[in-house]
Symmetry: C2
Subunit: 276 residues, 2 copies
């Protein structure tokens, strides 16, 4: 573990760390914000999963979340969105390959060797965070767009491991929308049955716990009708009797201007669950 | 005037506009944040001047200022840091030419033709803003690093035109530090007497009004001792009996993590002056 950035921010410390990932077989970076309370003892952790094309930088520079992490005494961890590097399979498209890991474990070549973002985010990253930083084992998970899909899937597949989940503009039904169909076809192959294990709308039907779940969606998001369709998750949650608090925000788009506007409410949502 | 970006944000609208600048002889972009109060009537305006290498994007995506603009009902205007384009003189260095206009009117070739950021920021930009947006003529000015120099110089040279001034990590004595000596030598020539008209420490000696002036400086800023030296402005203000509120913030560096941490306090400083 090597620290590559360190900035005092809102009374705490925004850092970026680099490490060799055994899970992904490449060098990875992640952002970690340590609030001032971390100097006194272990703090709960919110994991943030970013969207297509992002690195660990987008959330830490644009969301303005650090002020709320200081308010609530929460650590923020923001990983990259895929394995990286010259030896890692890639594609010219923005929505496949590097920058587009989709938080799953790929089973098809050439992706299967490195594309294991699910295992990285669920196992390796928390193990590193809880060993190297004053982090308690109280965890929540949130994300944006592809990362909103990741947050929902990771929370639903791991009952007892996260206290709460939230997402901005998530891909809730990747098996049924173009972004997901393209990525799942490449990473998992054409057997659509195998896709169900990575689709929040499918997973919620079998959920064994009732996690606090909040969704923020811009009403002016250009991807709303084709790629996002949050009503599919609302329907699935209603059928499964799972909580699902979806807020449609008129006029808001898919950008970090939207995330910055409501990240404080999401941090409060997670803080309430993490402090229980 | 052509709108090239529009994002709902904190109840208002973050926009980016493009226009042909008569002053600079090129196409320019600037960011403007319109708080919800702008729908009801004219609002005061805070002009933000960015530092070396920045465009209009840095402040609007990283500072988190929009939430405070909504709180106080202030419009935020963030111009680019120099003229731009293929026909505009440039230099390979990051601290000269495009991205490094230093908010002055150049007198030497090849810079004199386009490099008139002082006239642009003081005259053309406010005229456009006050014509196209619900902006009152209550103005304040702030900036970072090279833009902190710009804010101080512009406020001090135009008594009656701004209600307040503030700066993060400003170059307060450009005539006496490497960044300023290089830029002034290129843009203004080697007659150091001509530099005094663009040096805040020189201008404050002749200031005819007493503007609320606040400086934020990171104690861990790597440029502090060589390029910034805020004590030179404190001394000049003391000698001139001009107010000067300098806050040294331990550990903070030169980044937007520093700006984001204290922009709320600067917005409150300006709001108090703008609402008088």
């Amino acid at each position: 573990m090597k620290r590559v950035e360190q900035h005092v921010c809102f009374g705490g410390m925004q850092e970026v760390w680099s490490h060799e990932s055994a899970t992904l077989g490449c060098t990875m970076q992640f952002g970690v914000y340590l609030p001032p309370q971390a100097a006194e003892g272990p703090c709960p952790v919110l994991y943030w999963l970013s969207g297509l094309t992002c690195t660990e930088q987008n959330f830490i520079t644009k969301a303005g979340a650090q002020q709320y992490a200081t308010e609530h005494g929460m650590i923020l961890v923001a990983p990259d969105t895929s394995p990286r590097g010259e030896g890692v399979a890639d594609d010219e498209a923005y929505d496949l390959g590097q920058g587009a890991g989709f938080y799953l474990n790929a089973t098809r070549d050439p992706w299967a060797k490195h594309y294991r973002m699910y295992d990285y985010v669920v196992e390796e990253l928390p193990a590193r965070v809880e060993r190297h930083f004053p982090a308690s084992d109280a965890r929540s998970v949130a994300g944006h767009s592809m990362g909103g899909h990741g947050a929902l899937v990771i929370a639903l597949k791991n009952p007892g491991r996260y206290r709460s989940v939230s997402a901005f503009s998530p891909i809730v039904a990747p098996s049924r929308v173009p972004w997901g169909e393209k990525a799942f076809g490449a990473y998992l192959g054409n057997d659509r049955e195998s896709w169900k294990a990575w689709d929040a709308c499918e997973l919620v039907a079998g959920a064994s716990e009732r996690l606090p779940l909040r969704i923020e969606q811009g009403g002016g998001d250009p991807f709303l009708d084709e790629q996002l369709q949050p009503q599919l998750l609302e329907q699935a949650c209603r059928a499964a009797n799972h909580p699902c608090d979806v807020r449609i925000r008129p006029g808001h788009d898919h950008s970090y201007y939207f995330i910055a506007s409501f990240i404080g409410e999401h941090m409060a949502h997670h803080a309430a669950a993490l402090k229980r």
